[in-house]
Amino acid sequence: MPQLGSSSRLTGRERWATKIGLVLALAGNAVGLGNFLRFPRQAALNGGGAFLIPYFLCLLAIGIPLMWVECAIGRYGGRHGRGHTASMFDLLWHQPAAKFIGALGLFIPFTICCYYTYVTSWCLAYSFFSATGAYFDLQSTAEVGRFLAGFQGVEHNEYFSGRGTAYLFFVITFVVNIAILLGGVARGIERLALFAMPLLFVFAVVLVVRVLTLDPPPGAAPDQTVMAGLGFVWNPDFSALRMPSVWLAAAGQIFFTLSVGWGIVHTYASYIGPDDDVALTGLSAASLNEFAEVVLGGTIALTASVVFFGVVASQEIAAAGSFDLGFQTMPLVLEQLPGGRLFGTLWFLLLFFAGLTSAVALLQPLVAMLREDFGLPRQRAVLLTGVLLFVGAQPVILFLEHGFLDQIDFWAGTFGLLLFGFLEILIFTRILGIERGWQEITHGARIAVPRLFRFVIAWVTPIGLGAILLSWTATDLVPALSIERIDEADRPYVLGAWAMMAGLLLSFCVAIHYGLRRRAHNREGDDS
């Protein structure tokens, strides 16, 4: 096994131009729709302020350690000219299984991107609809739901006659995504992060101020106030802490919000210099994500919902799901807000930027593989990635009403992440070994990482991740394997989604096998 801290083989590899650019790019990867829609729901449904106790404990025990582990693996791989998890794991563990476990770090982000780009384009479309006031006459969540269904092409109605509008916004988002990737790491991804992330925070702060200064609507019930809205999210219910489900919800929220287990942090960290810090970088990205989540996300959507609809209705809204909160409840809130068109445009642009910075990140591991293992120049690697993404997104767009997107989100976007996160922490702590792993995390560190984290990473993080995976397998995975639970009309599409994912995973495994062989062959040629 190669020695850590060995000399750089980064010749010709791209690098981040600035540290703040890297931090914002990593934060951009982490900050997504979940920060603004999922977190407030999770807090309100799982003990309010008391939820923050397991939440912050899990941040310390799972979130930040895993961020450091992924940054450390990434920088280690980059030092040896490896920019994706398959080749990094192959370097860490010389067993055939390693590169196939690492294949998940290419399969997961690409597969998620097939629907994430489409969902991101909805935010851009709704920003446009907010500016033009297209949905401002709708009076109920049912009407807003029909507006959304018409937009998505799920039904033909008086609002939309097909999915043409949705497709147009998808193409715009797709082209922007590819254009950014064509710029490369420093001139594309980093520039986007330096522009979009500060703008996202400014928009969110403006919205927070607007929500906190809301007056109750005319004829409102006594509980329709900003204070009641904040209380809905923050008043602690300590009895919730006795329920294991609340602790698992907190652990799951931390895992998903930091976007660890995707294979992206590794790729981004591979462009760090061999002796540059990863400890402060990982902590900075995590803390920016927490600011966006706890301070901004925890204040906007549900607080506004309580002011306009009251506590009882907001409980139903929170229970209905993040998606309903974002695309069915928030439009109704925004249309009642004084200056609603402006604030609606800002709200959906904020979600668009959050989505775009993540969508760009989702494609970079594949671009890195095509460049490094197959020797393609950047432009050809990005264009090939774009073609694959465009083809992969078509069934998601065309078969949306048959649950195609939900299947990919479930298998790649939830199960895949948990499995990959669990396997990578095992490889890091048990194959590489905690001693070497700790050296790698603390090498070049600009902050003193408490030695307690050595124990946490070795034991607490793997056990915590194992517990989430096991519990999720029992509650969600086993029932999902039963095809009988799915509508008969949707079964061919669900099977199609499974076949597409299996085909993609197999294709990635084959490509990785030949790519790494080609890389090894070229290296032997260079040596001789």
Binding site: T18, K19, I20, V23, G48, G49, A50, L52, F56, M227, A228, L230, G231, W234, N235, P236, D277, L280, T281, L283, S284, S287, L288, E290, F291, V294, V295, G298, R446, I447
Partner: protein
């Protein structure tokens, strides 16, 4: 909003804002 709610909100916001500010200032100094 109860007093306990304010305490939780205050502690969580202080923690998160403080940590983010510390990290960003340190990162910017490094640049």
């Amino acid at each position: 909003m109860t007093v306990a709610g304010w305490i939780f909100l205050g502690c969580a916001w202080s923690l998160v804002i403080g940590l983010a500010a510390f990290c960003i200032v340190k990162t910017l100094r490094d640049d």
